[in-house]
C-alpha cells in the first residue's frame, strides 16, 4: 500500500469522528486531528482502534501519543505496515 492510499484511507477513517466538519474541506497532512478537526481524546482512541482494524496493525500507547496531525498518522501506519 503506497502513501497516497494510506492517506486516503486514514482520512476516511478519521472523518466519522470529526466534530469540526468545516475543517474537512481543506484537510491535509498538516491538519491537526485534535486542534483543527475537533476530535477529543476518547474519539482519538476510537480512531486508533479503527486504524488497527483497517490496517491489521497494533498501535502502542507511545506511538498513539505521537499522532498529532494526519501526516503523523500516515507516517506511523506506513512504518507499521511495511
Amino acid at each position: 500500500m503506497n502513501e497516497a492510499e494510506i492517506t486516503e484511507k486514514v482520512i476516511a477513517l478519521i472523518t466519522p469522528y470529526v466534530k469540526n466538519r468545516d475543517a474537512l474541506v481543506g484537510i491535509s497532512k498538516d491538519t491537526s486531528i485534535l486542534g483543527d478537526l475537533g476530535v477529543n481524546s476518547a474519539r482519538l482512541v476510537d480512531i486508533v482502534l479503527a486504524f488497527e482494524d483497517a490496517f491489521n496493525i497494533e498501535v502502542s500507547d507511545d506511538a498513539a501519543d505521537s499522532i498529532t496531525t494526519v501526516g503523523d498518522a500516515v507516517a506511523l501506519i506506513g512504518k507499521l505496515v511495511a
Binding site: G35, G38, A42, V45, D62, D65
Partner: protein
Amino acid sequence: MKSFVGNDLIDLDAAHNRGRSQQPRFLQKIFSVAECAQLADQNAGDFGFALLWSAKEAAYKAAKKAQPHLVFAPRRWSVSIESLLPGLADRHGRVQIDEQTQVAVQWQSAAHWLHCIALLGTPSARIEHAVAALPTTPPAANFSARERAGFSRPESAAVRSLAKQLLQRCGIDEVEILRDSEAGLRLPPRAAVNGVALAGVDLSLSHDGAYVAAVIAIAARDQP
C-alpha cells in the same frame, strides 16, 4: 512544588458517551486490568466509565503541565476510587501516573454531566470551578486578537467566557486567556495580562456535548 490544575467534563446524555462501558476493546485500551474488573464487578455502566475516564483526562492535563513530555498512556495510570456507582454528589480519589506522580481528583455530578478536577502539587489557596450549559447565543465576553488566535469554535468561546467569570470572582479583571502553540502542538491555556502569564494563577478548560466547565486555581501566597 508549584500546583497544577486539570479538568474534564463529560456530558452524560451525549450520544458519543453512551455505551462506552460495553466496548471491551476500548476499555482495554484505556483502563488497567484492575479498573476493567472494578467497572464490571460494580456493574457501574457508563457512569462508572465516565468517572474513571474523566479522572485520567483531568490528571493528564494537570501532570502534563509539570512534565511536558508526559505520554498520554491512560491504561498505565491507576485511578483509586471507592465506588463507581452513581448517587454521590461529590467524591474524591487519586490517579497514580508513575511512582513519583500522584494527582488528587474530585468529581461533581449532576443529572446530565460529570465534572472531574485534578490537582497536582501543593493544595491551592483557592479553587473556583463551574459548569454551564452551552449558550445558544455567543458569549458576552470580549476577546482580544491574541485570545482569538487560540480558538475558533463557539464552545471554546463559551468556556473562556466562563473562566473569565471565575477569575472576576477572584478579583482578577482585564485578563486574557491565551492558548499558544509550540512546534505544532497546542499548549495548555493560561491566564495573562498584556501577554504575560499571571503568576500563581492556573486554569483548565473542558467542554463536551451541551456543557462547558472551567477551573481556576489561585496559589497560596508563599508558593513560587
